[in-house]
């Protein structure tokens, strides 16, 4: 490259970086970036639920550059290291390029016609012989809303089974349960805008620095500018997030409910509760859902004084008191949590107890205060929670059990209402168990990798092996493709258009900028054409463009709490997403729910709002609920045979089952294999040295893996990142799940460890 051009490139790159923090380094330079050669397309990152805006730079028919979208309010031009490699994932050698059918044990390349005819025939045979509930769909929080919508219509509306699930069941179902039971409606009341107004952050069960790096950056930036801002972490493991923490409480894995109760106890006892807010906005309920008084709630909390909570959780009482005082004294507070809270047999309860702290102190509904759950996948909120991609849901935050909801959806789908079953289908674990038992005989899996990601994964391989498995994927091989009978190549990010809805209720449009690789096709069209071949021509032939699907979907959201009817493609193509409710095309989107400015609040009759700053309109009397939930232990506490608490999680460089990030050589080499973290004191007692090969064993399986002796986990705790199929952490995890949310307890299993 000629030096001059390189200097120009460097100056441009520096100017772009400077612009991302609002500094004009070289006036005019940023705009000159290859003005002549590269065309830029506004899109959204493919990885985590943060939802960063990226600009895709295309030259000829290739993507040659990525930059953070300066105009996107989420990331304001920055991206994390995963965003660095987005282009490489598109061009990975592991892209699945042709449809394939397994014949005599081997995958054979076939035409699309042959593949779809075959799947349609097999699915129809199963349906006729065993009924609709012998079929199932398992989707993804990475699929676009349009794709999940098509699957929902095909399975619930046409085939007639509610056996339709998605991997968000494994990551945020407990957060849904928490929001519904505490605040009345799913998804946060606030948005990322609260970050810059918060005086205190409570990060619990979240390694924000590694898993949501741009949110972390915003927190750090805000704290740097405002040294009075404080950060409390509650997590059994030290992570890079600790660099900025003011206080870190280390509960034993699975025992943190008592800590949250003890904080509530101190908050009330020391006068930090907002009694006026409580009186006007809060009901108290016991675990059975019966109303109790504030006094009875306080009595309940006497079982969780800081001293008692210390005995339960291992966190020193003095630190619990300190955390409670910090929370109570801060003018505003934002809690953030993710898998460490959700992936638990008491995930919903843990969510409730976080909401309790905000409701007791009135730290909700004002800028800077919000209980704000973080999501792992880019469209778990948009496609699956809002789009209704779980076995009990219908599009637009509707439920299959509600007759009116079924009617509304059936009308728009153009199907008889009797097609939609009034009972929820099988939730994820039950679905894969039914596959094992042969009760489900055919499954369509889209954009996800359950053979690796299910807890106690090996238990479910039997069903995948024995039943008819169709896998629509962009990559091959994956752990799940080993069990597939048919592989359908799916277009990847940038090869298709559609909408993603991220953590903060923001729906954003992504354009198609490339032709799909090989013979890959858009998932929504694969489903449409399969549906037509199964006999649902009338119901599906009308969809000609992605916009057709989106328009029908948003018509179903009209008047719902997550109203997106004003978020048309026309608008979304211009703006950097819209935060719902967006009830009309001239509505700017909603910053905070349940308060003035929220169209649903504004519409309420005056007498309802009288004297109140919030109205939780998902609850009959507009009052949120503070729950008195017992502090239940994990499903599998440690004992003398299995004395360690094993917890699983993520590293910065990889994402989920590694299908995408491990296809990028740079990321793969940065962290090429899994390891088990063990505290130096434990390692010393067991004679384990750094890099020794060890066996980690639970009641379900064993894993031979390299030891990393490091003081990140507390003594008595082990940690394994779960991205690798060769060191499959989910051989060890437990498939016990939360009875409310049906989300499994990936975060705690009893284990032992010894030298291999």
């Amino acid at each position: 490259m000629p030096l001059k051009r390189r200097e120009f490139l460097k100056a441009s790159a520096a100017a772009a970086a400077a612009a991302s923090i609002g500094v004009n380094l070289i006036p005019g330079m940023e705009n000159k970036l290859f003005a002549d050669a590269i065309t830029w397309h506004k899109s959204v990152c493919r990885f985590c639920g943060t939802g960063c805006g990226v600009m895709i730079g295309k030259k000829g028919d290739k993507v040659v550059a990525i930059k953070g979208d300066l105009e996107n309010p989420i990331n304001k031009g920055h991206i994390c290291v995963k965003g660095f490699f987005l282009h490489k994932v598109i061009y990975a050698r592991t892209r699945l390029l042709y449809p394939m059918i397994r014949k005599n044990g081997k995958f054979v390349r076939v035409s699309w016609d042959e593949a779809l005819d075959y799947v349609a025939k097999r699915f129809n045979e199963i349906r006729e012989k065993y009924g609709p509930d012998a079929l199932a769909f398992y989707g993804s929080g990475q699929a676009e809303t349009e794709e999940t919508y098509m699957a929902n219509k095909l399975f619930k509306g046409c085939i007639g089974t509610n056996n339709m699930e998605g991997n968000p069941r494994l990551c945020m179902a407990s957060a849904v349960g928490g929001y519904l039971t505490s605040l009345g409606l799913d998804e946060p009341a606030g948005t990322y805008q609260d970050i810059e107004h918060a005086e205190l952050f409570l990060l619990i069960g979240s390694n924000t620095a590694e898993c949501h790096p741009i949110i972390f950056e915003r927190i750090v930036r805000h704290k740097t500018k405002n040294p009075n801002v404080k950060i409390i972490i509650i997590d059994p493991r030290k992570t890079p997030t600790d660099q900025v923490a003011d206080l870190h409480l280390f509960p034993k894995p699975g025992w943190d409910l008592a800590v949250l109760h003890a904080m509530a106890y101190v908050i009330i006892k020391e006068g930090y509760a907002d009694l006026d807010f409580i009186k006007k906005h809060v009901n108290f309920k016991n675990n059975e859902g019966k109303d109790i008084s504030f006094e009875e709630f306080q009595k309940f909390l006497e079982d969780y004084t800081p001293e008692k909570a210390e005995k339960i959780s291992g966190v020193p009482a003095s630190e619990i008191v300190k955390a409670a005082r910090m929370f109570g004294q801060a003018r505003t507070a934002m809690s953030m949590w993710t898998m460490g809270i959700n992936q638990r047999t008491r995930g919903v309860w843990a969510n409730n107890l976080i909401h309790n702290l905000h409701l007791l102190t009135g730290k909700i509904g004002v800028p800077g205060s919000d209980p704000f759950s973080l999501t792992g996948q880019p469209n778990a909120c948009g496609g699956v929670r809002e789009g209704g991609g779980l076995c009990h849901l219908l599009p637009g935050h509707r439920k299959v059990t509600n007759a009116k909801h079924r009617e509304e959806v059936a009308r728009v789908w153009g199907v008889p209402v009797s097609n939609i079953q009034p009972k929820p289908g099988k939730h994820t674990i039950a679905m894969f168990e039914a596959l094992n038992e042969g009760k489900i005989k055919g499954i369509y899996i889209m954009c996800t990798n359950p053979a690796q990601s299910l807890p106690h994964a090996q238990k479910f391989w039997k069903g995948l092996k024995e039943q008819f498995v169709v896998l629509a994927e962009s990559f091959y091989p994956t752990a799940t493709s080993e069990y597939a009978d048919v592989l359908l190549p799916a277009a990847f990010w940038a090869e298709k258009e559609g909408v993603y809805g991220c953590t903060e209720r923001r729906s954003q449009y992504m354009p198609q900028v490339l032709q799909p690789m090989g013979e890959a096709r858009w998932d929504a069209w694969i489903l449409r054409d399969l549906a037509i071949r199964m006999g649902f021509k009338k119901e599906f032939e009308k969809y000609k463009t992605a916009e057709d699907i989106w328009n029908e979907y948003i018509s179903l959201t009209k008047g719902r709490d997550m109203d997106l009817s004003g978020a048309t493609y026309r608008r979304l193509k211009k703006v950097r997403g819209l935060t719902w409710p967006v009830p009309s095309e001239d509505h700017p989107g909603t910053y905070k729910r349940y308060v003035k400015g929220d169209p649903f609040f504004d519409k309420l009759p005056e007498e309802k709002k009288k004297g109140r700053r919030m109205y939780f309109y998902g609850k009959p009397d507009g009052k949120a609920v503070v729950w008195a939930r017992p502090a239940k232990p994990p499903a599998e506490p440690t004992d003398k045979d299995y004395p360690f608490a094993l917890t699983t999680g993520r590293v910065l460089e990889h994402w989920h089952t590694g299908t995408m990030t491990r296809a990028v050589l740079e990321l793969e080499r940065a962290v090429p294999k899994a390891y088990v973290e063990i505290h130096p004191d434990d390692a010393k007692k067991l004679g384990i040295a750094n890099k020794d090969m060890v066996i980690v064993e639970t009641r379900r399986g064993k894993l031979k893996i390299e030891a990393r002796v490091i003081d990140r986990p507390e003594p008595g705790t082990l940690f394994i990142p779960w991205h690798w199929k060769e060191w499959l952490a989910n051989l060890l995890t437990i498939d016990a799940f939360d009875p409310g949310s049906k989300e499994p307890e990936y975060k705690v299993a009893a284990a032992r460890i010894y030298k291999a």
Partner: protein
């Protein structure tokens, strides 16, 4: 030759020592400290892999670095060899 424009966010008390360390790295060009604790830098390497290693080296080996946040990455020259070896997957 891949090139990345990044913001190196530092712990405020350590900004100047981080800047000194960055200046020692031959394939890093710094463009000053901005808004208190942000260093603008350009990372260069022969491969994206090199870029990523450099980014890791900065965030892990230099004390006081909170994070390295890319804003712009160009890999124009690398795209022809776009296929990556994923035999492990």
């Amino acid at each position: 030759m891949p090139i990345a424009g990044v913001v190196v966010v530092t712990v405020p008390e350590r900004t100047s020592s981080v800047l000194q360390e960055l200046k020692k790295l031959s394939n890093v060009t710094t463009y000053g400290v901005h808004k208190e604790n942000n260093i603008i830098a350009v990372l260069e390497s022969d491969t994206t892999k090199g870029l990523e290693q450099l980014s890791n080296q900065i965030s892990q080996a230099i004390q006081g670095v909170i994070g390295v946040f890319p804003a712009y990455i160009n890999f124009e020259d690398e795209i022809s060899d776009s296929g990556t070896d994923t035999s492990t997957n």
